[in-house]
C-alpha cells in the first residue's frame, strides 16, 4: 500500500489526521474485527479475513471505528427500509411517523446526524450517500469514481460504486476524504499515480475567484416540491450576491439517465451477487439445494431465502437485461445513454475531462462552468409509511438528480440548505430543517466541489 505521502496536491495528511475521531462504517465495508453482512441474510455471520483498504487507512490515520451502520440490503434502496435487520428511521418525523432517512447509507447518515460518530463512511452507487445526507441534514460527499479504493467494499454495481463520506461539515468530510484519497493496487479501478497527477494542477485559472455556476434547465421538473425549489433559489441567489455567476446549462440526457441507471446497476448487481451461493460463507439453506431431476437450479433455495425482495427484483431485472435476447435493447442501449450523459457534462464544464483525449473534447465555446448546482432530491423526505405505499418505480424516482453524476463518475456533494423561518413555522417541529443541495464537478475536480459547498456553507445563515 502506498503511503499517505503519495497524496495529490501536496495536501498530504499526516498520520494522526483523524486521531481520536470516531468514524462509523456502512456495513458493506468489510472489517476483520466485526461481522460484515451488507444487511443481507445471505451474509449473516460473515466475518471478513481482511480489512477494506479504506478501513486500514482510517486506522492508519488514527481514527477509531465506532460501529457498523445499517443500510438497504447490498446498498439497493433509497430509504434504508430494506435491511435484513430491520429499517432505519430518521431522527425526524411527521405526524408521529418517522421520516425516511434516505438510502442506502441511511444508517451512516443517521449516525452522523445524531452525533453518534464524528463522521461515517457510506457507499454511493446512484446517490446512496447524497440522498441520506439530504434527508438527514448532513454533508454527504461522493468522490470521483476511482479515487477511493473499493477493495473490501461489497460490490453492488461495480462500475458505479464509490466510497463516500458523511459528516457534519464540508471541512470534516474533506478531512476524511483526503485521508483516504490514495492509489490502491488491490483495486484495479483505483486511479494510478499518473492519472492522479493529471488531476492535480488542473485548477481554475489563477486569480479568478468567481465561480461559474451551471444551473441545468432539465432539473426544473414538475415533481420538484416548492420547498425544495425555494431553497434552491435561495442558494443560487446567495451565490450571485457573493459575486459568482449563474449560467443556464442543458444536460439533455438527464431524463434518460435514470432509466439507464436502473438497467446498468441491476445488470451489474446480478453478476456481482452471483457469488452468494452459501457454499464458502454466509447463509445456507438447511436442506438440499439443487434438484436436477426437478430441473430446479442450483442454489435456488439458498438464494431464495437469503436475499430480500428488492435484491431479488434487481437480480432478476439484471439477469433479464443481460440475456442474449435483451442485451442489445437494454444493456447496450443503457451504456450508450451513459456515454451521452458523460458527454453532456463534458460539454458544459470549463475543464475538459481528464480521462479523455483533450483533442476529442466537445466542450462548447462559452467557457463552460466550474460547478453545477442542483437539488439533491426533488422532495422532502417521505414518511416511512409513504415509502411503503410507493411502487418500486416511484421509489426509484428519488434518485433522478443523483444518478447522472454517478453514471459519469463525477464528484458530487450534498450540502444541507436550511429552510426559511417561514417554511419551518408551517411544519412540525419534528420535521426536517433543511433540504439537500447537490454540487457536481468535472471528473477529478473533487476539491472544487468541496470548495464550492464550503463557500455556500459559509454564506448560510
Amino acid at each position: 500500500m502506498p503511503s499517505a505521502k503519495e497524496e495529490l496536491n501536496g495536501q498530504a495528511t499526516s498520520p494522526g489526521a483523524l486521531a481520536g475521531k470516531s468514524i462509523a462504517l456502512k456495513d458493506n465495508i468489510v472489517t476483520k474485527d466485526s461481522p460484515t453482512t451488507a444487511a443481507s441474510k445471505v451474509l449473516s455471520g460473515y466475518e471478513s479475513p481482511f480489512d477494506a483498504t479504506v478501513v486500514k487507512l482510517l486506522r492508519q490515520h488514527g481514527a477509531s471505528i465506532s460501529s457498523k451502520t445499517n443500510l438497504d440490503e447490498f446498498g439497493m434502496g433509497s430509504h434504508s427500509q430494506s435491511s435484513n435487520t430491520g429499517p432505519v428511521f430518521s431522527p425526524f418525523s411527521r405526524n408521529g411517523t418517522p421520516l425516511s432517512p434516505g438510502g442506502s447509507s441511511g444508517g451512516s447518515a443517521v449516525a452522523v446526524a445524531t452525533g453518534q460518530c464524528w463522521a461515517a463512511l457510506g457507499t454511493d452507487t446512484g446517490g446512496s450517500v447524497r440522498l441520506p445526507a439530504a434527508y438527514t441534514g448532513v454533508v454527504g460527499f461522493k468522490p470521483s469514481y476511482g479515487l477511493l479504493s473499493r477493495w473490501g467494499v461489497i460490490q453492488y454495481a461495480n462500475s458505479l460504486d464509490t466510497v463516500g463520506v458523511l459528516a457534519q461539515s464540508v471541512k470534516d468530510a474533506r478531512q476524511v476524504f483526503r485521508s483516504l484519497n490514495v492509489f490502491d493496487a488491490q483495486d484495479p479501478t483505483s486511479l494510478p499515480a499518473s492519472v492522479r497527477q493529471r488531476l492535480g494542477p488542473r485548477r481554475r485559472e489563477p486569480g479568478r475567484k468567481r465561480l461559474r455556476i451551471g444551473v441545468p434547465v432539465e432539473y426544473n421538473i414538475d415533481e420538484l416540491s416548492s420547498t425544495v425549489r425555494a431553497a434552491y433559489v435561495r442558494t443560487l441567489d446567495a451565490l450571485q450576491v457573493a459575486g459568482h455567476t449563474l449560467h443556464p446549462i442543458s444536460l439533455p440526457s438527464t431524463r434518460r439517465a435514470l432509466s439507464a441507471y436502473y438497467v446498468l446497476a441491476p445488470a451489474e448487481a446480478s453478476s456481482n451477487l452471483a457469488k452468494y451461493d452459501g457454499i464458502r460463507y454466509g447463509y445456507r439453506t438447511a436442506g438440499p439445494d439443487a434438484s436436477p431431476k426437478r430441473n430446479s437450479p442450483l442454489y435456488a433455495q439458498t438464494r431464495g431465502e437469503g436475499f430480500g425482495d428488492e435484491v431479488k427484483r434487481r437480480i432478476l431485472l439484471g439477469a433479464y437485461t443481460l440475456s442474449s435476447e435483451a442485451i442489445d435493447n437494454y444493456f447496450i442501449q443503457a451504456q450508450k445513454v451513459r456515454r451521452l450523459v458523460q458527454q453532456d457534462f463534458d460539454r458544459v464544464f470549463a475543464q475538459s475531462n481528464p480521462l479523455l483525449d483533450a483533442s476529442l473534447s466537445t466542450r462548447s465555446g462559452d467557457g463552460g462552468v466550474d460547478i453545477i448546482i442542483t437539488p439533491t432530491a426533488p422532495t422532502l423526505p417521505p414518511t416511512v409509511d409513504e415509502v411503503k405505499r410507493q411502487s418500486p418505480v416511484e421509489s426509484y424516482m428519488n434518485d433522478v438528480f443523483t444518478v447522472p453524476a454517478s453514471l459519469a463518475g463525477l464528484p458530487a456533494v450534498s450540502l444541507p440548505a436550511p429552510l426559511s423561518e417561514q417554511e419551518r413555522s408551517s411544519m412540525e417541529e419534528s420535521d426536517v430543517t433543511s433540504v439537500g443541495m447537490q454540487f457536481i464537478g468535472q471528473f477529478g475536480d473533487d476539491e472544487t466541489v468541496l470548495e464550492a459547498a464550503e463557500l455556500v456553507e459559509q454564506l448560510q445563515p
Binding site: 460473515y46 473490501g152 467494499v153 453478476s271 457469488k275 451461493d277 457454499i279 464458502r280 439445494d289 434438484s291
Partner: protein
Amino acid sequence: MKTPTARIAPLHLSRTLHSSFHANLRVPRASVVSKWLRSRNLTTAPALAQEAVPLRKHLKDEAKRKKAEAKINGVAKKLKTDPRLEKWELAVGIEIHAELNTECKLFSSGPTEGSDGVANSRVAFFDAALPGTQPQFQVATLLPALRAAIALGCEVQRKSGWDRKHYFHWDQPNGYQITQYYEPFAKNGTLTLSASDGVPTSDLNGADSIGIGIKQIQMEQDTAKTTHHPPSTYHIDLNRAGHPLIEVITLPHIHSPQTAAAVVRKIQAILRSVDACVTGMELGGLRADVNVSIRERGTEGTGSSYSGVSGLGQRTEIKNLSSFKAVEDAIVAERDRQIAVLEAEGVIEGETRGWTLGATETTRLRGKEGEVDYRYMPDADLPPLVVGSDLVDHLRVTMPELPDETVDRVERQYGVTLKDAKTMVDLDDGDRLEFLEETVELVLRRSGDQATDQLRVGKLVGNWILHELGGLLATTETSWATMTITPVEVADVLVNLQNKQITARVAKQLLSTLNDTSTSPRPSVDHLIDEGNLRLRPLSDEGYEVLAMQIMDESPDMVAAVREKGQKGKIMWFVGQMVRRGEEGTVEPENAREVLERLLSD
C-alpha cells in the same frame, strides 16, 4: 447485524453440499448430474487416467486398425471403408483449452503450484470470491499466452477485454468465469500440418501440407476441482480455481477425424515447445470441444457459416474431450450419426452432445432451447488489456524452437530419418530428444581424437535410444519416465561398442542388465563388462575357421542347402550358431560371416 457464530472466512471448504440425490436412487440421478455437469463443460471427477499414446504407436495402431477394418469389409487395400464418405463431407472446428504455465493465477497472486496438492491451500481471497475482493490481472500470465499466440501464427491484438460468463456451479466461486468473449487477445492464426503429423493423404489432396485457420485465442480462468463422495457429498478444491487457461479456437477447416486428432496433438506440441503450457492432454491440462457438421459433397450444406467459412451443414458441439483418441472417436461417431440422420431424410439439430471414452455414439446433452444463457458482460473492474508491439516483437525473436523446426534440426544434425526425428521430438515431452543430445555429446567427447562425426554418432545413438532402448522398455513393460538408465551409461556402452570392445549383442545385454539393476549405487558399465568378462577377445582367423568347421561338420544338411541349393540366406543361421557357441564376447558377426562365406563357397 450481530450474529453469535462468527465464522472465520478463510476457507475451510470441506463443507459438504447436500444435493438431493439419495442413495437409493443413485444410479439414474448420477447420470442426470453428470450430463448436467458436462452440459456446463465441467467434470466433477478427476480426469480419467488415460494412457498417453505416443505418435509412433498411434500411427501404428491406426494402420493396424485400418488393415483390420479393410479385412472385415473384404475390401483390402482400400482405406475408405465407408462408401457413404464418398457422398458426405465432414467439417470440424475445435476449441482447445490449455492450462498456461504460470506461477500465479490469472487474477490473484495465489500460486499455481506447491503445498503438495493440499486441498484449498493455494487460494487467494479473490479465488474464493470473498465479498469485497476484486481481480488483479497478473501480467506475468500474459507471457506464455503471447508465446502461444505467436507460435500459432496469430495476430496479437493491441487491445483486448475481459468479460464475465455467468453460470452457477460449485466449481465457479464467483458465479461467473472471466474470459475474453467480445475481444480476444489474439486472432487469425494458422496451423500447418503434413502427413508426418498424421494427416491422411486424402486430406492433403496431393499437397505437402494443409493449413488450418485459427480464429482466435482467448485467456480465461479455470474452475475449481470437485470430487464426488457418494452419495451426496462433494468436496471442492479451489487450488485450480482461477488458474489461467487459453482457449484456442480453430475454423472448421478440418475434414477428417484423423486430422482433428493431429490438430490437437500438434497444438499441444507447439504449446509445450514454447513453454506456454506444462501438462499434456492426458493429464487434464488440455481439453477439447469439437464442432461437427457434414454436407453433401458439391453442395452448400444447409448454408450455415462460421466466422467467414460458409456453405456448412448444421453443426453440433461435442464437449469436454480429454484425449486425442476421444477427439477422433467422438468425431467418427458424430459424423456417422449425422450421415445416418440425413440419409434417413432427417434434420440435424443444433445441439450440444457428449461422448464418453469407449462409446460408439454421442449422446444429446441439450438442444438450443436448453442452451445456458451466459449473459456475457464486460467486467467493469478490469481495464482493457493493452499489449505493446515491442513486447510482441521481443517475444517473437526470443521464441524457443517450434516442434517442426526441432524435427528439421534433429534430422539434419543427427542424420536420423524424418520419421525417427519426429518420433524423438514427440516422445516423452521431448525428454527422449534431450537424452539423445546428451548421449551424442558424451560419445563424441569420449571418442577423443578418433575420426568420428556427429552424423554417424547421431545415427548410432538415435538408433539405440529409439529402437534398442525402446524395445527393451517395451519388453520389460517399463515406462520411459521410470527408466533409470542414464545418458552416461548409454554413452559408455556405445563407446565400447564403437571401439570394438564389446559386441552389439553384449551391448544389448548390458542395457538390459542396467535396466534390471537398482541404482544405489550401480556398478559402472566398464565394471559390468569386466566383471562379466564381456570384453571382446577377438578370435584369430584360425579360431573362426575351427569354430565354423565344427558347426559345418555337425550340420551337413545346412551346408548342402547353401552349397547345392544356393540358399545364401542360411549363412546367417551359421553366423548365429557361431555367435552362440563361441565364448561370450569373442565372435563378431561380421567376421564370422566373412569366414563362413569363404568356407561355404569352397
